[in-house]
Amino acid sequence: MSDVVTMDDLSNEEILSILDDSKRLIPVARGDVHLPLLEGKVLANMFYENSTRTRMSFETAMKRLGGSVLNFTSVGTSVAKGETLYDTMQMIDGYADIAVIRHPRQGAAQYSADAVDIPILNAGDGAGNHPTQTMLDLFTIMEAHGKIQGLNVVLVGDLRYGRTVHSLSHALIRFGARLTLVSPETLTMPDEIVRDLRSTGAEISESSDLSGSIPDADVIYMTRIQKERFPDEDEYTKVAGIYTLGSKDMHGAKDEMIVMHPLPRVGELHPSLDSTPHARYFQQAFNGVPTRMALLCRGLGVTIPKEVK
C-alpha cells in the first residue's frame, strides 16, 4: 500500500529508508540539482483547510522533481455546493496520479484512501494525524542528533488538539525516545493516546512546567495554542501565551539542544531565539521539501537513485 494516512502505514525500516532518501534529495530540494524523477506526473493538493507550509512544500517538492500540481480549495468549488468527499475524490482519481489531503474532519484521509485507487498522503485530518509533518520532524531531529534512541523530547503547548504532536509522539516512541509532555491542564494529551504510548513500555512524564524541563531536554518541540480549535474564546484566553521561549531561557540548556516548532508561531518563540544555535524551526520548515519529495516518490513507486548529482 502506498497510502500514508497514519505513521502506522510505515514500518520503522521504511521510515529510515525514506529519511535516507530525503537526505540525498536535499540538493534537489534546494534547486542545485535538476532531477525530473516525476516528470509527467500530476499531484492534486486537496486543501479543505488553510495551510501555508504543507501545501507549498508539497508543491515545491513536486515541481522540483519535474511534476505538476493541481491546487484545490473547498471555497468556490463544488464542495461549497455540498459535494461529498467521496464524490470529489472520485473526480480527483481521474485527474491526478497522487493526492495530498488536508481536511477539518478526522478520518477524512482514511476515507479518501478507501474511496479511490490513487495513493493518498494525509496532510492533516482534524485533530487526527499529520504523518508527513512527522517525517520532516524526525528528519530534523536525526539531522541534529544523528539518532532518536534515548533522546529526551519535550513536547510543549497544545497537546490536546495539536495533531502534529499526536503523530510525532507515536513515532518517537517507536524509535526509543523519552517523552516529556508539557501542557496546561486543559490541553493535555488525550487519554487514549497516552494509554497507547504507555502500553509500549515507553518512558513518558507529564508536567505543566516548561522552564524546569529545559536543562534535561535534547529537543524542545513547541506548538502554537490553536485558537481555531477552541469551542470557547474564554478557554482560549486562559491558556494563550502560557509558554514562551526566548534566548534568555537557553542558559541552562544543553549545547546541542534544538528548539523545533511546526509554525506558524504567534508569541511562543521570541525572535531573540532565532539567532541562537538552538533554533531549528526554519530549517525544519525547509526539511518539508526533501521529505515530501521522498514520500511522493514512494507513493508513485519511483526509486530515488543511490547517488544524486
Partner: protein, 155 residues
Amino acid sequence: MSEMRRVTAICNGTVIDHIPAGHALQVIRMLRIDTNKSNPISLVMNVPSDKMGRKDLLKIEDLELNQEELDRLALISPNASVAIIRNYGVAEKRVVELAEELVNVARCTFTNCITQNDREPLPQRLRVVSREPMEIRCYYCGKVQTMTDIVDNIL
C-alpha cells in the same frame, strides 16, 4: 434450571442464555428488535447463575436469529449461548463470534468524524482493537467507542 420456573418453554424461536446481568435490554436494541410490534419475547434479568453469578436470558418466539444478527450480539454478550428452538426442542446451537470489524453495525459517535455526514456513501466501520478488555475504535477517525455509544448509535 432456575429460569424455567420464571418463564415457560417456547415452541419455536431463539433462546439467548448467559447474557451479562442487566444487559438484556441492550441485547434487544442491538438485535434491532422493534419492541412495539415484535414477536412475543420473554425477558429474564438478574437471575442466579452457576457460571456467571447473575445473568440475563431472552426467549424470542418464532424468530430464528441468523449469524450476522448474532455477531452483533457479540459486542455486549460475547459469551452468550444461543439455541434455536423448533417444536420445543433444541434444533441448533449457535456460537456468537466477535468479528474483527463491525461494518454498518453502529455509527461512530465522534462529532467531527468524516462519517458524520449522512450523505457520505462508504460504510460505517468499527474496529475491535482488543477483546479483553473490549476496546472498539472507529476505523476512520480512530476514536474509542464505549458500549453505551454503540448501543445508542445502532444502525
